[in-house]
Subunit: 312 residues, 2 copies
């Protein structure tokens, strides 16, 4: 009897890998767990999880012999890790392999917003370039001051790239870190006040909910650009929308939103936002690496070995 | 009598600077020179030039006492420098101050094309994200191999940035240069064959016309992305369009075109091109610095001093 339950919207290539190595039972989402019969549920010892639907006590209670929940993605805020720990379940994620992609997207969104590249593209494609002349001048991006909120693996990748754009790097983290001359701030308001660009690279979950508050957003000021590639939950989205609408900040580049993919329609009316559909890690190469790392965590558990990338 | 003739589409801020420091006579373009009367033409000793209309022997002959043509822009291919030299006229340009902006745009266009960011933006904004799910996977950009065609000041700025994206840097230039471990190619076809991304940073003018030939484009191959921030003339545009249309290369990011702003309409039908309206240096900060450097070259000439940035 199969030991692995694979939950979530896996694509064909991911399913091929899972089927070959683990021959799992597939469910589209966690709500399907309760439809399985008890014998089947009790046979599962591992869950391969993908998606943003909450997976918590109710689901774990239905899977009494599961010892690992291997998440697909570096952010595992959908999984109730405290509950898992209490039940002796190890949770793993897929860190490292997606850092480059997410950092690439963050940097590109920042330049796109500063240089108004989507509007400039439309200016050319609509024929206005030929009819009305040059696109309007915008703002220089290189040489500015960048503030990274959360200097974990992804935050560092972003900072390393922005340093090559001659930016002065500031960051917020709970404690100062070993960095090449970057400036630590213990308070996110102080960070926002010091920088032109604020790039949010926090982990998600309850601890960081609304961390980028109205006060932080206001401190960024009318020349400020906010970039978020972490989770929609980390930013007070109502305050961000207000600030964008009234020009209290200059603009934003956002890959993540609250209630995505059903994002607040106020975003669509804004001309000063670059919107991406949470595709930070969305490359063929990286998703294949994430899928492999998820499978390798499950395989390690089933073989009685240490997980490669446990989070609890 | 005023000594300076200012030719080209100056904006209000640039005109304010010129009027304050040089009180020039203004013309929209070089075709207006012949409309001036002879006494006026003979009084001019300096030209402040902006634009892409050719300025050559005919115009110079009408301005017999001009000793400097101070170009606004790093690319001075509109000006016939050989003719100017023969007449003892010094030509200057505005190098250095625009390197960062142009490099920023090149890097952003490369990531936008690789990560399909304009299409992903439309996916979100059109509601397809909510209705049809995730945007399709695309390709990892960091860690690839980049080839810079022309390792001048701008080429180096681009290479320095791409190195921070963990790219292996190759380049073509007439002779090998002092670089941090980058690979020199003496032949652009060899360069194109070796890389994923080909970024054209040549000077314009007759010497580089069609330098990125059909053979170079074909050598880039079906995974290749071409970025051009130099001049439309440096690329064999018909061959590029053919290659993009039949998928012989993966895509392109283009800030410059032949016959701009009336660019070939075949570009508009392509989904694998990021189009920008020649806005490489188009920021408030940089254009102000370019305008100042142009004026400073004229002022130096009028004061009998060496030009700051002569090109001949």
């Amino acid at each position: 009897m199969t030991q692995t339950l694979a939950i979530g919207p896996y694509n064909e290539s991911e399913k091929a890998g899972l089927t070959q190595e683990l021959a799992p039972v597939y469910l589209d989402g966690p709500s399907g767990v309760s439809d399985l019969d008890a014998a089947q549920r009790e046979a599962f010892t591992a869950v391969a999880y993908k998606g943003h639907h909450p997976f918590g006590a109710a689901e774990m209670a239905l899977l009494p012999n599961v010892g690992v929940i291997a998440n697909y993605g570096v952010g595992y805020d959908a999984i109730d890790v405290a509950e898992a720990s209490a039940r002796g379940i190890t949770v793993s994620n897929t860190p490292g392999v997606l850092n480059d992609d997410v950092a690439d997207l963050a940097v590109a969104m920042l330049i796109m917003q500063g240089r108004e590249m989507e509007h400039a593209s439309q200016w050319a494609r609509s024929g206005k370039w030929a009819e009305q002349g040059e696109y309007r001048l915008n703002r220089k991006v290189s040489g500015g001051t960048a503030g990274i909120v959360g200097l974990g693996r992804i935050g560092r990748e972003i900072a390393d790239r922005l340093a090559a754009f001659k930016m002065d790097i500031h960051y917020w983290s709970r404690s100062a870190k070993d960095t090449p001359g970057w400036t630590h701030h213990g308070d996110p308001v102080s960070l926002a006040r010091a920088v032109d660009y604020l790039i949010v690279a926090l982990v998600g979950g309850p601890d960081t909910e609304g961390f980028v508050s109205k006060e932080v957003i206001d401190a960024l000021g009318p020349r400020g650009i906010l970039v978020n590639i972490s989770r929609g939950s980390t930013v007070e989205e109502g305050a961000l929308l207000d600030a964008l609408e009234r020009g209290a900040i200059s603009g934003a580049g956002l890959d993540v939103f609250q209630n995505e993919p059903n994002i607040d329609p106020r975003f669509y009316a804004l001309e000063n936002v670059v919107i991406q559909p949470h595709q930070g890690s969305g490359t063929v190469e990286t998703r294949a690496a994430m899928a492999k790392l998820q499978r390798d965590n499950v395989l390690a558990y089933l073989a009685g070995e240490d997980l490669l990338t446990p989070v609890n």
